[in-house]
């Protein structure tokens, strides 16, 4: 009974069914490959459809032809679901991996199969149909489709279309890298649509023959080739592209041949040409600094290493983390590269280490200078005392100069040492109760001769309400006031230095040291408390020192829980205001 056309078509359909089984077996080998499970579902549907279609065509009995036609729906109904889920896996969308959603997608197909098998009772699938009377193929012809068929038609086409669009979008990005693969996928996407369209519109090479199962089989073959020839699944769902884009660090993905697949915005900045499209290009043509990295990194499939790079002439530090992606063999693995810019941390570490070295250096130098300074000062004073016999007037003057210079140097060394101790945090206050009046008198006594020599007035004004004794560090308070008054005398040519002590409340003391000196320009005022900052670069060598005085004063005031402020006008004078607590309770350690 079979004519040659029927024989040919049955052969084709049986080949399709056989190919489907082979594809399922092949894909089963890489069972953990993403997208493999929906792919198998898709191919199984195609195989069932093709097989039962072959039976329908080949079957001599009209009744059995109808049964085989109905049974084809077992295959037909799962194809859209398989295709849709495959598209989700392919583009890295994991939302549909949930089995409940999977079962929900299968509700319509299951009903469709039931409706198909019971169609003779209600005609919901095929309202009117007959077997083809003419033409080479003796198959079931549907004259009028039932309500459920239309419903199913819409449902399946929505799924097919959604999946197709999704695959197309995710492929398009990588088109340049995977040109051959892209062609195959495009063909596999287009074929079933052509076949289906041709059948529904009646333009078929063989009248009444639906090419869809064969077209779908070809699609499945193309997809299969894409999978095995190009390791499609090893590459594609690699890392969710959205996740890479969201990473704060620079990140990019390269395939096994070092071709760029994905680059996020932070990594784009590191490209030679941040505006170019890097996809599909080899890594070093996009990031030329890649060649400067240690060889180890080039070869690594997995590493976490800190490297330094020169980018745009600036040295930067990065932590490079390389993670292999996919589960194919070693030579098919893609790599996810994450570069974290650790330049800031590095520079901070280096600055800290330098500061540490500086502090230790200051302490060492300061300490080592003490013995020779003691010798110089001691011998100069011995000469002055007459241990080595009486001195002439000139000799006495010379010896005095040696003593003065040595004492000046001693102050510098002391400042350096104190600064280094403040920086090391080993500075401790020594808090006792002492007479403020005594301290002030000692200071005035110390400066009176100096002021007199320069022809300057020096007045001390202690307001009512200032306590007689206070709890503080007397030596440090002495040091603060001596520093400020010394500066005032140093930078005042004529006029006076006024020291005023007041107490606005019983908890705080205010010391004001005002002079009629040269003054400090506004832009310099914020700098004068920095270490090693010269207030007045024109000060003579003997007076200049290291510029540590005010820095130390500020730090000491801070340690003593006080504040220091400056008001100054060039040519009119300066006023320093120090406010300190009258009672420091516990010994404070910095």
């Amino acid at each position: 009974m079979l004519n040659w056309q029927t024989g040919l078509i049955v052969s084709f359909l049986l080949i399709s069914a056989t190919v489907s089984v082979l594809l399922i077996l092949l894909v089963a080998r890489g069972k953990n490959v993403p997208g493999a499970a929906p792919f198998r579902l898709l191919v199984a549907g195609i195989g069932i459809w093709a097989l039962f279609y072959a039976f329908e065509v080949a079957s001599p009995e009209p009744a059995s032809k109808v049964l085989w036609a109905e049974l084809q729906y077992i295959g037909i109904s799962v194809i859209p679901v398989g295709w849709f889920l495959f598209a989700q896996s392919y583009s890295g969308n994991t939302a549909w991996t949930d089995w409940r959603r999977f079962l929900a997608l299968l509700i319509v197909p299951a009903i469709t199969v039931l409706v198909a098998l019971t169609n003779s009772a209600h005609g919901l699938l095929w309202a009117e149909y007959h077997l083809a009377a003419e033409g080479p193929l003796n198959v079931l012809l549907v004259v009028r489709y039932g309500v459920w068929w239309w419903f199913y038609f819409v449902y399946s086409y929505v799924l097919l279309l959604a999946g197709t669009i999704q695959i197309f979008q995710s492929m398009r990005k990588q088109a340049s890298a995977f040109r051959g693969q892209f062609g195959l996928i495009l063909a596999s996407l287009a074929l079933p649509w052509f076949a289906n369209f041709s059948y529904l519109s009646g333009f078929t090479p063989v009248p009444h023959f639906d090419l869809s199962p064969i077209a779908f089989t070809l699609s499945a073959i193309f997809l299969g080739v894409a999978i095995f020839r190009f390791q499609l699944f090893d590459l594609v769902p690699l890392v969710n592209p959205t996740a890479i884009r969201r990473l704060g660090a620079a990140a990019f993905v390269v395939d096994a041949k070092n071709r760029i697949i994905e680059v996020n915005d932070s990594a784009a900045v590191l490209m030679d040409d941040p505006k170019s499209n890097p996809e599909g290009k080899v890594i070093e043509t996009v990031f030329s600094w890649w060649n400067d990295l240690p060889l180890k990194i080039h070869a690594s499939s997995e590493t976490n290493q800190d490297v330094s790079l020169v980018l745009n002439g600036l040295r930067r530090y990065f932590n490079i983390q390389i993670t292999p992606v996919g589960d194919g063999g070693a030579d098919s693995l893609a790599r996810l590269m994450i570069l974290r810019d650790i330049t800031g941390d590095r520079l901070a570490d280096e600055a800290l280490a330098l500061a540490q070295i500086k502090t230790e250096f200051l302490a060492k130098v300061g300490h080592e200078l003490r013995s020779p300074l003691t010798s110089i000062l001691g011998i100069a004073e011995m000469l002055d005392y007459g241990v080595y016999g009486p001195l002439s007037e000139d000799q006495t003057k010379a010896v005095q100069l040696i003593s003065d210079s040595t004492q000046h140097m001693t102050r510098i060394v002391n400042d350096l040492l104190q600064q280094s101790r403040l920086e090391r945090g080993t500075f401790t206050l020594d808090i006792t109760e002492f007479s403020l009046r005594d301290l002030l008198n000692r200071i005035i006594g110390y400066f009176k001769p100096m002021a007199k020599t320069k022809g300057l007035g020096l007045t001390l004004d202690v307001e009512a309400g200032v306590p007689e004794t206070i709890r503080s560090d007397s030596l440090r308070l002495y040091q603060i006031l001596v520093n400020l008054i010394d500066n005032a005398i140093k930078y005042t040519i004529e006029g006076e230095i006024r020291i005023r002590v007041s107490s606005s409340n019983e908890k705080h003391l205010t010391f004001q040291i005002a002079d009629t000196g040269v003054g400090i320009p506004k832009d310099v005022q914020r700098l004068i408390f920095n270490p090693f900052q010269q207030v007045n670069p024109s000060a003579s060598q003997r007076e200049s020192g290291f510029g540590l005085g005010l820095s130390i004063v500020k730090q000491l005031v801070g340690l003593m829980e006080g504040t220091i402020e400056i008001e100054s006008e060039v040519g009119k004078g300066s006023q320093f205001t120090v406010t300190l607590p009258t009672a420091l309770e516990v010994e404070r350690q910095r």
Partner: protein, 124 residues
């Protein structure tokens, strides 16, 4: 000479030792000089100085241990200790047990005047 109070100078620097011994002699002491901690302990076992001028950085036994030995020995109960150190940090022990502390760099006059004061305290 024997009625002069006795000072023991413990200092390893040659020039500083010279300066300190002249200053202390000028202040009215008889002076013995030792250059390290071990010598210092030996001398303290034999002599009973009225004043010990003690450097803290010593070869052999550290100065602070010498101070500890002095304070442990009842025979040296009246010995006054003047510490001359390059260290600006002072331990609690030092502050309690030293009579005076001078921080280097220190000149001839400072040592001379301090020794003079201490001699007056001793003769009182």
């Amino acid at each position: 000479m024997s009625e002069l109070p006795l000072a023991l100078i413990i200092e390893d620097d040659e020039v500083i030792t010279e300066i300190f011994s002249i200053a202390v002699k000028e202040a009215g002491f008889e002076v013995i000089v030792v250059r390290d901690g071990i010598q210092a302990l030996k001398t303290l076992g034999a002599e009973t100085p009225d004043l010990v001028l003690l450097d803290l950085h010593l070869p052999g036994v550290p100065g602070i241990n010498v101070l500890r030995e002095i304070r442990k020995d009842p025979r040296l109960a009246h010995t006054r200790v003047l510490i001359v150190s390059a260290d600006t940090t002072q331990s609690e022990f030092m502050r309690i047990h030293a009579d005076r502390i001078l921080i280097k760099p220190i000149g001839f006059y400072a040592v001379y005047e301090t020794a003079l004061q201490m001699r007056e305290e001793i003769s009182r």
